[in-house]
């Protein structure tokens, strides 16, 4: 299978700290890859480098064969979308968050699409006008995730998105990830310690002290 993302000897250094070192990895289109390892090992940094929120200080990353440093970062981030572990929601209401992906693309807001996305993650349509301060942690994470996939990306980078969620919320998020992976052919790279996500994955890698230790 062709690689959608290819890391060639990628390293990241912040001041004196070498956070990532010599990571080479090929991620096939439609792969589901989980990234595990002890905390502080550089997993989140790796995802942020892949999301072009940080620039690798060594090596290079190819997306569909093209060096990402040569691509427009904004266009790239719309194709390779990063979900935060503890997301912050914008504005006042859920709609403010779900409007954002349309606004940045200068697209007309598709309320029907927003409602069906909400419904898919078990939230009623009326939640569009709900204040973000009235949402539970699990509901916030679900709204944040549909904000990322309102326009289906090619790659979804998930940074411990189910950490801290209860079982019911975890199941909903897992189903959503599975749906996008299976039905929309989205490539998934997930930093996780969650057994279900690890079981769903087609490949597992482990990052220890900034280095790629194990690949399965």
């Amino acid at each position: 299978m062709t690689a959608i993302l290819e890391l060639q000897n990628v390293g990241y250094r912040a001041q004196e700290n070498q956070i990532l070192q010599g990571i080479s990895l090929s991620v096939g289109a439609e792969d589901y890859l989980t990234i595990t390892g002890p905390s502080g090992g550089g997993k989140s940094t790796l995802l942020r480098v892949l999301a072009s929120l940080l620039t690798a200080t060594e090596g290079k990353i190819l997306f569909k064969g093209q060096d990402i440093s040569e691509k427009d970062p904004i266009e790239y981030r719309r194709q390779v979308s990063y979900c935060f572990q503890q997301p912050t929601l914008f504005g006042r209401t859920v709609a403010d968050n779900l409007d954002f992906p349309f606004q940045i693309r200068n697209a007309d807001i598709d309320v029907a699409k927003q409602k069906s996305a909400l419904e898919y993650v078990g939230l009623p349509e009326s939640y569009l006008s709900k204040k973000i301060t009235e949402l539970s942690g699990g509901e916030k994470q679900r709204v944040a995730m549909i904000r990322n996939i309102m326009f289906s990306p090619d790659v979804l980078l998930l940074d411990e998105v189910t950490a801290g969620l209860d079982e019911a919320n975890k199941d909903i998020v897992h189903n959503l990830i599975e749906h996008f992976h299976k039905d929309h052919h989205v490539t998934i790279l997930a930093v996780t310690h969650d057994a279900t996500e690890i079981a769903q994955a087609s490949h597992i890698i482990t990052i220890v002290k900034g280095k790629l230790e194990v690949t399965k």
Binding site: I19, G42, T45, T55, P73, I74, S81, I104
Partner: protein, 257 residues
């Protein structure tokens, strides 16, 4: 109307400084030296400016007037950029913002006939505009620095969703522009109720009918609203890109796992 403060009266008024120093000493504020420096600076600067203005007003030369205005604008820009916390290009950005806000506001005032193109009117008005613009821009810089630090993740999330740096910063920009303009709006709201503002007080002091004096104060209120809004908008819009690098990433990203 006695508009001449005798040297003896000024010396007696100087005793008020001793009150400030005594409070500083009693409360162990450690500001005695600072008060002395401030008083000496104020006296020297005002005397120098007084004699300089006397000369400039007497000569009434356009070139000299422009030089004076440029010196005011540069000093205001220099002071505004100090609030930027080391932001790149803060001096030229401040200068452009203060130049534009002073230029536009002064231009409207002169063209409308509210003030005349003579040094005794143009120079003090430029100083008032530039100083308010300077304070507004300083507040904008401080607000942007605080907000880009406090709302770091929120900005990064907007970028991660594929937003432009403008999409990611627009909330911070709006809040910072509002912060810059807030003191001018507040003083416009309380003008005449809480304080009799400077221009109006000066004219009343000089014996002008208070009803005529308020017209000038209304003009000052309008010009300061215009100046602080133009200054804040230009400074914020020119400055926010400095918080990002060429790859449209937020600078100085903390590395957490």
């Amino acid at each position: 109307m006695n508009l001449d403060v005798s040297n003896w009266s000024l010396t007696l008024a100087g005793l008020l400084v001793l009150v400030a120093m005594w409070i500083g000493y009693r409360e162990k504020l450690g500001i005695d030296r600072e008060i002395i420096t401030a008083v000496i600076r104020a006296v020297i600067q005002l005397f120098v400016v007084g004699y300089l203005l006397k000369y400039v007003f007497r000569v009434n030369n356009v070139f000299l007037t422009l030089v004076m205005i440029l010196i005011i604008l540069f000093n205001a820009s220099w002071n505004a950029q100090k609030r930027s916390n080391g932001m790149a290009h803060a001096l030229p950005i401040s200068f452009v913002a203060i130049l534009a806000s002073t230029g536009v506001t002064l231009g409207v005032l002169i063209l409308s006939g509210a003030i005349k193109l003579i040094p005794s009117q143009v120079i003090p008005i430029s100083g008032m505009i530039a100083s308010n613009s300077m304070v507004a821009i300083g507040l904008c810089y401080r607000s942007m620095n605080t907000k880009f630090r406090d709302q770091r993740q929120s900005v990064m999330e907007r970028l991660a969703l594929g937003g432009t740096v403008r999409d990611a910063s627009i909330g911070i920009l709006r809040e910072s522009i509002k912060t810059g303009m807030a003191p001018t709006i507040d003083s416009a709201k309380t003008g005449g109720i809480v304080s009799l503002p400077g221009m109006m007080s000066g004219l009343i002091f000089a014996g002008v009918d208070p009803v005529r004096a308020i017209k000038y104060q209304i003009m000052v209120t309008f010009m300061l609203l215009s100046a602080t809004s133009i200054g804040s908008v230009i400074a914020c819009y020119l400055a926010y890109r400095n918080f990002y690098n060429s790859r449209k990433q937020l600078k100085d990203m903390p590395n957490n796992d």
